[in-house]
Symmetry: C2
Subunit: 388 residues, 2 copies
């Protein structure tokens, strides 16, 4: 009944021993939510959302961080360090606090979403607001590690990938539950036809692909999904080749010009018969609003790249009716409240009188944009929510 | 393996039939996290945190909202409405979007935390920013319901309490896992000696108490916990009696002057042999920082009232060594990023050079406030994090 965290749950797949001091915050076990409307919009496929925003710090990074910090503690580290656009920093700071060892995080000061920054600060990490890019932060982090005081918990730390791969196991086990119906047991794990995922540093798609292969090699399932990775159009070094010196996108969590897991990501797509493609910021923001208003799921903008990419491929006839696609939603929308504000409009204050409130709501309803009208209309071409 | 949400999981305890159209976002199944340092600080008791921030919209409200919206849909409602200080609004908007029926939320405009407001907006609800108090919002909501168009999903909706009581079942089942050790099955549920919980409207303590009693009456456990409710000192009508016309506290989620579940809350405390007490804003904020920096758990300020209250009682010798206390953390810290900012300090930007970063971190370390020094020092008397 009680979920023990990903290390305890998937111990046999991970490099731990009975003596390893496991640092967990109950990460993993995030829900696989069946789409209400997205499958229909994508031409009749079956879509599920793996809602990784429901990890303790609000992103998938916790899966890898539990193992990275556990191994750092086991190795007797004095402190951990990471360079980050935000989610890694929040996760490192949380597990750092939990473990009792120190944590330093280096954040490019212009690429940080509000929620992530306050997390790192409140968890008590030493936060460096760097006047530079993610790649600058990464370079400096490497030099700090060479100094001997710090163990890196960036994605170059191999334990991060090991922990993150557990999401693939969960996807298969949860999909099996849906295939079998709730009351049948034991459940036989099932594999989706496609796994759609946002791609920034390339680590997560690498981890999922490793997880699916290990799960198959262990005999739990007999096939593999095609891996569909999506980069933001202004930050797509894996699609365009080379390094993007100044990546640009609203999806800050995947705003990375020189991915550490370049080869892992490209291999995952190629070996699985999938692809890596781009989606525009407009497509990302449209999907972001769609997720909230039509599915009831608030994810951060980068997360929406997965479903935006599926919508784009569906328009081109990529899928066959009835195929199953799992879209990974990597982080919670509360990570980036400023973006949510920019994508919506709060009306003027209303007087504390029944008549005033009733008139306000009637006006909204008659404008066709609110109660009873399916809430915000999200379309591929809309650029702002029509809520005024 | 796959968690089906609280209605499917606890169907036999809830007013649903096989034909009820269940609206779920994978709510419930939140982790019970053993304290790392809090038990020692409280004089040697065993503390667990029920981290309700790990619900889909980031608060415990989702447990009740899944059932309230499910039943509204079953009843053929055109739309739902609620008055809220924020968490209820976010949850209603999410499940409203998920169900496809409309949702109106009335928020007192000066009592809303940023994260909660953006949630309601992005989920597509009609948001009324009211120039008035929560009690004004509540009064107007009632009149809207009388008009026939709306079903209220405020806590006066009895299904909210029914859904929320499922948290008590989970606490017993999860605590049983810890008592038994991970590898033993089947697990025998266990009851904590105390359940500590923030109290605003009084609905949640009422729901937990109902849940514990029903679970015992069904024979799963044979005892009950003592219920410890904590109100903010400036918003404590259950302690001081009467109505507080202008409640004041940083803990916006429990800033309520006229609780709807006054009797339920008082009965829970009295009948269980517990109490309802107050904690100051200073105690709440100290506990809030402690949770993040020492336990690795980021909860909203109101959540910290539970552990703040336990620390206060422990100082007075209330507990015996070895007793078990479950502290409910009602919402995620990302709900209120502004408060997190006010409780921490971001240093000046640092140049993108190794030497500058290394010097910055060394200065932090020598100030004794960061890496390697146990991060932020939280004490009962500190009023700001010592991070500059």
């Amino acid at each position: 009944m009680s979920w023990p965290g990903v290390i305890e749950r998937y111990r046999s797949f991970l490099p731990v021993t009975p003596g390893t001091p496991v640092i967990s915050l109950g990460e993993g076990n995030t829900p696989l939510i069946p789409a209400r409307r997205a499958g229909e919009r994508a031409g009749g496929i079956r879509i599920f959302f793996k809602y990784e925003g429901m990890n303790p710090t609000g992103s998938f990074k916790d899966r890898g961080m539990t193992l990275a910090v556990t191994k750092a503690l086991e190795a007797g580290a004095q402190a951990i360090v990471c360079a980050s656009t935000g989610n890694t920093a929040a996760s490192a700071a949380a597990f750092g606090a939990r473990s009792g060892i120190g944590c330093a995080v280096i954040l490019p000061k212009d690429s940080i979403a509000l929620g992530k920054l306050v997390q790192a600060l409140l968890y008590g990490a030493d936060v460096v607001a760097l006047e530079g890019s993610f790649d600058d932060a990464f370079r400096i982090m490497r030099r700090l590690v060479e100094g001997g005081r710090y163990i890196s918990v960036n994605s170059i730390n191999p334990y991060r990938i090991e922990g993150q791969k557990t999401a693939a196991f969960e996807v298969c086990e949860q999909l099996g539950t849906f295939a079998a119906g709730r009351d049948e047991a034991p459940v036989v794990p099932a594999v989706p036809d496609y796994l759609a995922i946002p791609v920034g540093n390339g680590g997560n798609i690498t981890a999922y692909w490793k997880g699916f292969r290990e799960y198959r090699d262990s005999g739990f399932v007999s096939s593999l999904p095609a891996m569909l990775g999506f980069q933001a159009a202004g930050s797509a070094p894996l699609v365009h080749g080379g390094v993007i010196a100044h990546p640009q996108t609203v999806a800050t969590a995947i705003k990375i010009g020189d991915p550490a897991y370049r080869l892992g990501a490209l291999d995952a797509a190629a070996d699985s018969g999938g692809l890596i493609d781009v989606v525009s910021d407009e497509e990302i923001l449209s999907a972001y609003r769609f997720l909230a208003a039509e599915e009831g799921i608030f994810a951060e903008p980068a997360s929406a790249a997965s479903i935006a990419g599926v919508f784009k491929l569906a328009q081109d006839g990529y899928f066959r009716v009835g195929e199953t696609v799992v879209c990974v939603l990597t982080g919670h929308g509360l990570k980036d409240p400023d973006q949510a504000f920019r994508q919506s409009t709060l009306g003027d204050p209303v007087a504390a009188e029944y008549e005033a409130v009733e008139a306000f709501l009637t006006a909204r309803r008659e404008a066709g944009s609110g109660t009873g009208a399916g809430a915000v209309t999200a379309s591929a071409t809309a650029t702002t929510a029509t809520k005024t």
